[in-house]
Amino acid sequence: MSRNIIDIQHLTKRFGAFTAVDDMHLEVREGEIFGFLGPNGAGKTTTISILTTLIKPTRGTAIVDGHDIREDAIGVRSVIGVVPQSFALFPELTAEENLAYIGRLYGLSEAEIKKRSDELLETVSLSQYKDRIAGIFSSGMKQRLSLAASIISNPKILFMDEPTTGLDPQSRIAMRELTKKLNRKGMTIIYTTHDMDEAEKICDRITIMDEGCIVADGTAKELKKLGGETVIEIELAQPDEAIVVELQKLRFVTAAEREGKLILLRVKRQENIFYELSDFFRKRKRDVHEIRFKEPTLEEVFIKLTQKELRD
């Protein structure tokens, strides 16, 4: 369908004896929001730094919109934008001056800069603050300005390194909305985050990295299938141990336990389970109040795949 805008081959980065990225292969399709997940130290930031030409790989390479990161760093830089984790602008300059400075470093003409910065300040809702120095901005405003600066050159690909970390809920939502808006206009977005919920909400495709390797890759739905088991909660009128023992004997059940009025079943598959269970209880003349399917969360998938908690 759509072409690969980033193509990573055999990408390896070693720092002394430590291998941060280990023979990585990955493709990012044009126009998607691509989520990069992984515990701290998994190699996400290193990978992003290599893709954005900030550091050089030890081995392997990546083609970013037709530009080889090893041979054509300038070409790569001209098609990408990066929203760094920190503010990374000049607190002494006004919002507009910051944008103009970055615009000039991208080689834009003064007229283009004026046009783009007006547009962008409008997009990130900072038009009324354009003459204020950035140092006095709130974290949310700073992050929005940072985003504006990152896309002043109208890049094809935007790298966002944990753009919502440290922001309040409203600002997080605003950032996510902005990200989606940019994506709708055709920008490919590489999004790293710690927030599984966020990743699931905005990413078309997610890659989970651990110890320098890709552990899983796919849509949120696909990933959930890979990881964890589905848990079924059954609310019975009178749950007892006998029924739990009987449930355990079912082919698709891996484990069953009673928790107060609830019976929790772990199952291998999801298909037809509802019907089989209804049948099971009808035969035993048991009153079932409710049968709830609980899908595994991405977090559970993540922990299962990496054997690590997400945060540290």
């Binding site: 900030l54 300038i74 830089r77 503010f87």
Partner: protein, 550 residues
């Protein structure tokens, strides 16, 4: 075994109790914990630890060598218009002093000035023509000294030591002279005494004159002895103090007889001259009488013998006469100080310490400003990520480096202009040389300084580390620039180190232009050297300035 364990238990209980009771005023376990944490932190931050350790070592060495001890081996040039043994002797005295290292002996002041302008020497010592002749003839000569004011410590030491050296040399000379006079006069007195005795019968005139002359000579000898005592009896060189008058009531011993002569009033120069003139007059008469007695001698044989004898006597009389004439010819001070110290200004007139300080301060502030400023400009931006954002744009290293460099060059030019204007307004400092030369020097030098700052900041990753490094590089520069502390007083190693500091050349060249009024052509060598520094700095900067943010 059981007892100490029990004790420990109670202590443990006690500490549990205090813990339960909240905080103690002094908790030594916690003090220990804080100390241990700080030790671990500082030991792990090598980039901070190293400057912290090296800096005091450097300070101790610098101050140890420069405080209290006068600079030694100050490069000096002797301009010898006189090549007499006396001039040689004076040069040896200077060479032996350790304070000065005579780099060259030239024959004209022009050559000497060139050496001074080039900074090869700091002091010129001019030995006047006919030095020995004048002194031997009873005159006084002045040794002229030209001191480079650029280093106030060196200038002060040079002045002090040269004055003392001249004075002590002069005093020694006058002592020798007085001793010789004394010997001559003693000899003359004894000759005249024997003449007086032998001529008493028949040649009364000779006898009278001779004995009168002897009397005067005895008194003259006593006076000279007093003079000698006045010279030798004072404090030894180098700070020789010669009293202008002989103190009242001075007792001195008659050199010939054992009689004591007591002067009731001060033996003024006039009285001395009077006494000596009287002795001279008698000697004259004695000589005339001797001459007459020779011609009056009877037989030719007797005449011949007498003539020989009288001639010998006459010669012995004439020698002290000459000595006395020399002695009286001296102005009273001249005998005591045949050589005096004189000074000529090195450049223009009325250049003060502040005039010499301004160029050095400009050189230092540019360096310090650039080194300190780069902490914010590179390390700070690196830490805040704004430099990383710049790295993400299609902008080359050369562009980033030159953009930073050009700005700081202009900034430093502006700062220097402000400083110069301030100095001109407040201290009435006059700029002698070409403004173009100053501007050119400042541009290149600001480039070098900024480049060094950028190199340093490329080597560290935090502003704290940078502060340590900047301190380690910046502070020694203040000391090694030779502005506040004389380099000459420092160990050889430091002097070599100073040769590798751009501030050394910049300060010197700025001084040459601002104070000595050098034109562009004269400062080409330091300008080229600074350009070399700039090339080296930029070359290194391009190597160490990495985009890799590993």
């Amino acid at each position: 075994m059981a007892k100490p364990r029990a004790k420990r238990k109670t202590r443990a209980e006690a500490s549990t109790r205090t813990r339960r009771n909240g905080e103690r005023f002094l908790d030594f376990r916690k003090i220990g914990a804080i100390m241990r944490k700080n030790l671990t932190v500082i030991l792990r931050d090598k980039t901070r630890l190293l400057p912290l350790l090296l800096f005091p070592v450097f300070m101790i060495v610098i101050f140890g060598y420069t405080t209290g001890t006068a600079p030694t081996h100050i490069p000096a040039a002797v301009i010898a218009y006189d090549h007499s043994p006396l001039s040689q002797q004076f040069q040896e005295t200077i060479a032996q002093s350790q304070t000065f290292a005579v780099r060259s002996v030239v024959s004209t002041e022009g050559e000497g000035r060139k050496l001074l302008d080039a900074g090869t020497v700091r002091v010129l010592i001019v030995l006047p023509a006919g030095m020995q002749e004048t002194i031997d003839g009873g005159g006084q000569v002045a040794v002229t000294v030209v001191v480079d004011e650029s280093d106030s410590a060196i200038a002060a030491t040079s002045r002090q030591v040269l004055t003392a050296l001249t004075d002590s040399f002069s005093a020694r000379l006058s002592q020798e002279r007085i001793a010789a006079l004394q010997r001559d006069i003693d000899a003359a007195a004894s000759t005249l005494r024997s003449t007086a005795l032998s001529q008493q019968d028949g040649y009364a005139t000779i006898g009278e004159s001779a004995s009168a002359a002897e009397g005067s000579l005895v008194q003259a000898a006593a006076l000279i002895a007093a003079e000698k005592k006045a010279v030798t009896g004072s404090a030894p060189p180098p700070t020789l103090f010669i009293p202008r008058t002989i103190p009242k009531g001075e007792r001195f011993v008659n050199a010939g007889d054992v009689s004591l002569v007591e002067t009731t009033a001060s033996a003024s120069a006039g009285a001395q001259a009077d006494l000596l003139n009287r002795a001279l007059a008698f000697l004259d008469r004695a000589a005339v009488s001797i001459g007459r007695s020779v011609s009056l001698a009877g037989s030719s044989a007797a005449k011949g013998a007498a003539q020989q004898g009288y001639q010998a006597q006459q010669e012995r009389v004439e020698k002290p006469m000459h000595a006395l004439r020399v002695f009286t010819a001296y102005a009273p001070g001249d005998l005591r100080s045949p050589i005096v110290y004189e000074e000529k200004p090195a450049y223009g007139t009325g250049k003060r310490a502040v005039d010499f300080l301004i160029p050095a301060i400009i050189a230092l502030t540019i360096f310090q400003g650039a080194v300190m400023g780069m902490g914010r400009a590179v390390v700070g931006e690196k830490r805040e990520g704004s430099l990383t954002r710049v790295f993400l744009t299609p902008t080359s290293n050369a562009t980033i480096i030159l953009g930073t460099l050009f700005f700081y060059i202009i900034f430093e030019l502006f700062r220097s202009t402000f400083l110069i204007l301030f100095a001109v307004t407040l201290f009435h400092v006059q700029i002698e040389g070409s403004l173009l030369a100053i501007g050119l020097l400042l541009v290149i030098y600001a480039g070098v300084s900024t480049g060094i700052g950028m190199i340093l900041s490329s080597m560290v990753s935090t502003e704290q580390q940078y502060q340590g490094l900047a301190l380690l590089v910046g502070m020694p520069t203040v000391f090694l620039a030779g502005v506040f502390f004389p380099l000459e007083a420092m160990p050889r190693l430091f002097q070599i180190l100073a040769d590798f500091l751009p501030v050394t050349y910049a300060a010197e060249a700025l001084r040459d232009v601002m104070i000595k009024g050098f034109g562009l052509s004269l400062i080409i060598p330091p300008l080229l050297l600074l350009l070399l520094f700039l090339a080296g700095t930029l070359g290194l900067l391009f190597v160490v300035f990495k985009r890799d943010i590993e």
